[in-house]
């Protein structure tokens, strides 16, 4: 008798897991978690962002365990996240207080504070660097010494790097974008209460920021390519470190000075300018600059830009356009959800298929009876 896939599962799984371990180790080389967190910044940042969990060490561990597969690494971290109690909410983080490493504006050449190109691949030529095949710790150290030595003169600038005024504040002063008052509504937490529609802005932003990088990017691309709005312009993109504080858990004190500093997170923030027509009195129409917002853990520039586009797109909310339909966008961009459901198709569906088979036979029988 042939092999029946639903029986004998215990042994099959054990053997499968051993095989998986073998695949990971068969070359006899072990990759250090530290090597991942220091040398795979891009992947670590992407995984932290999609996982909604800020920990470079755990992200690197997940990447190691997942053999570099981001969907699997995100999955591991999200599952780990479910075991953690939510003990505190941080105080509001103000991005104006960011210690900026890089900030650019596509709207103005001369922004207050100046443009800071920082570390970016934007103007690198994508030529494979074959020297990296030969790179050693020694050559890296030598390069570092030389670089830091040369930069010594600039150390002062390095230390001074930090707070910059926001480009949008400048536009607001000019009256070119609407002054939006501070909205202190307590944000909803999509990881603690379920999403209902119409979704609040805070819910939308949370789901966008933890969305799968590729999915967020593709949908935003659709928006600017033809399914939605006119060409947006990056008002400001900044990458840097934000300090995070929590109120003292022991007292009722919410005084800022009494708050605890719990660390820094690196984020990418984008404020996107989008031209919009506003109707004024007497049917007069005025062109105004509207804006969309994007913020992601780590240096995830494309994703943060895409997020700001989708944010604006969802605010428009014309349900007949998929990228403006909040249910369409928010339900489908999560990595764990989409990869989980797609991959569940590998699971046995024998019972459902048997039920379907029964129906197919029945309808066939009925149609032959009818004809006969």
């Amino acid at each position: 008798m042939g092999y029946v896939a639903v029986k004998g599962g215990t042994r099959a799984i054990e053997e499968s897991l051993k095989r998986l371990q073998f695949e990971r180790l068969q070359s006899g080389k072990v990759i250090e978690v530290e090597a991942i967190s220091s040398g795979m910044r891009g992947l670590v940042d992407q995984v932290m962002s999609e996982s909604s969990l800020y920990s470079e060490e755990l992200a690197a561990l997940a990447i190691k365990q997942a053999e570099g597969n981001p969907e699997e690494a995100v999955f591991l971290l999200r599952a780990y996240r479910s075991t953690l109690p939510r003990k505190h909410y941080s105080r509001t983080v103000h991005s104006a207080e960011m210690r900026v490493e890089r900030r650019i504006s596509a709207s103005f050449k001369d922004i207050p504070g100046g443009q800071v190109l920082g570390a970016s691949t934007d103007y690198s030529h994508r030529l494979l660097d074959f020297d990296l095949l030969e790179e050693t710790t020694a050559s890296a150290t030598a390069w570092l010494e030389q670089y830091l030595g040369m930069e010594e003169l600039d150390q002062e600038a390095f230390a001074q790097e930090g707070r910059f005024p926001k480009v949008l504040d400048y536009l607001r002063k000019e009256g070119l974008i609407a002054d939006c008052s501070v909205d202190s509504t307590e944000p909803d937490d999509v990881t603690r209460t379920s999403l209902t529609f119409p979704a609040t802005r805070s819910e939308k932003l949370q789901i966008l920021t933890r969305g799968q990088t590729g999915a967020v990017t593709s949908l935003a691309y659709a928006v600017i390519r033809g399914y939605g709005m006119v060409h947006p312009t990056v008002g400001e993109l900044r990458v840097g470190e934000l300090p995070v504080y929590i109120d003292s858990p022991l007292t009722q004190n919410t005084d800022e000075d009494e708050a605890y500093y719990i660390g820094e997170i690196k984020v990418t923030e984008v404020e996107m300018l989008v031209p919009a027509t506003v109707e004024k009195e007497n049917g007069r129409k005025e062109l105004e600059l509207d804006f969309g917002y994007g913020l992601c853990y780590g240096q995830n520039e494309t994703k943060a830009i895409a997020m700001s586009i989708l944010d604006k797109s969802l605010e428009k909310g014309d349900k007949s356009i998929p990228t403006q339909n909040e249910e369409f966008v928010l339900f489908h961009i999560d990595s764990v959800e989409s990869t989980g459901f797609i991959s569940h198709l590998k699971m046995p569906h024998y019972v459902t298929f048997q039920a379907k088979l029964n129906d197919v036979r029945k309808t066939r029988k009925q149609s032959t009876e009818k004809e006969g």
Binding site: E281, N282, G283
Partner: protein, 281 residues
């Protein structure tokens, strides 16, 4: 007609505006509008203080140019959109004692499913294009509580036959049909529960002349046979002349003239009506 009977439907002071309104336009007695539009705040007054009665077995025509508010009126009466203010009463519903616009959306669905039928100008609004034609007709019967497949299939076939669609095509989806056939499926659907009232919104607009004539014939025939009361909206006075017993003329959200259709055609009073009649060949 002649005999005095009580109306089957009464509408009182129906208002529908799009926009918040402002000092210049909020008061309906002295609002300053350009046509139905307030230049100060951009509010559009689509229906302004509309009141009328529909009598049993009568066809009441509503004529007016596009933007005059007639389709908005129809959408309001079928609860496709909420009115701003106003009242409507149906004799067959709680003996005409309750304002329909105040009822819960569940009750409004009941009224739609049991007491009214509507045929939209755009069949996409009235039909599920991918479902079978018989399924489309059955949907309304299902909504009214019918749970018998054979009965619904029989009734659906009868209706398709009445609207001259070959019964062997009943399992085909309306998207495979021509525009005229789609309108006839809509009519069959609207009639499925024998509603006392039928709302017809520009049902022949956009159809070829010969197809128009077919659909109009069908409506006329159904009206004579089934004695349904109809509200018939059209921008085409020819359609109104052919079907309506009485007619209301709408302009910029208001009723500017009403009376027996013949009378309005022979002796139009309002300048707009005169223009309309004179352009009728």
């Amino acid at each position: 007609m002649g005999q005095i009977s009580s109306p089957i439907m009464s509408v009182r002071q129906l208002n529908k505006q799009f926009g918040k309104g402002c000092e210049q336009c909020s008061n309906s007695d002295n609002r300053k509008l350009e046509r139905n539009y307030c230049r100060a705040c951009g509010t559009v007054y689509s229906c302004q203080n509309l009141s009328f009665d529909l009598y049993p077995g009568e066809v009441l025509g509503i004529v007016g140019e596009s933007g005059s508010g007639k389709s908005t009126l129809m959408r309001s009466l079928y609860f496709d959109q909420e009115v701003t203010t106003g009242e409507a009463y149906l004799q067959p519903y709680k003996e005409g004692a309750v304002n329909l616009f105040q009822e819960s959306s569940q009750q409004q669905k009941y009224i739609r499913n049991h007491l009214m039928g509507k045929v939209y100008q755009n069949p996409v609004l009235g039909l599920r294009m991918g479902f079978s034609s018989i399924g489309n007709i059955a949907e309304k019967m299902i909504a009214a509580g019918n749970r018998n497949v054979a009965a619904m299939e029989a009734r659906g076939s009868e209706l398709l036959d009445q609207v001259h669609i070959p019964v062997y095509r009943m399992k085909e989806a309306p998207k495979k049909f021509s525009g005229g056939m789609q309108q006839r499926v809509q009519i069959a659907k609207a009639l499925s529960n024998n509603p006392p009232i039928l709302l017809l919104d520009e049902v022949t607009t956009g159809l070829d002349l010969s197809v128009q004539a077919n659909v109009l014939d069908l409506i006329k025939h159904l009206q004579r046979e089934l004695k349904i009361s109809m509200l018939l909206v059209s921008h085409d006075l020819g359609v109104i002349r052919m079907l309506a017993d009485r007619t209301m003329v709408m302009l910029d959200g208001r009723v500017v003239e009403q009376g027996l259709t013949d009378q309005i055609l022979e002796d139009p009073q309002h300048a707009y009506t005169q223009q309309l009649v004179h352009s009728l060949l």
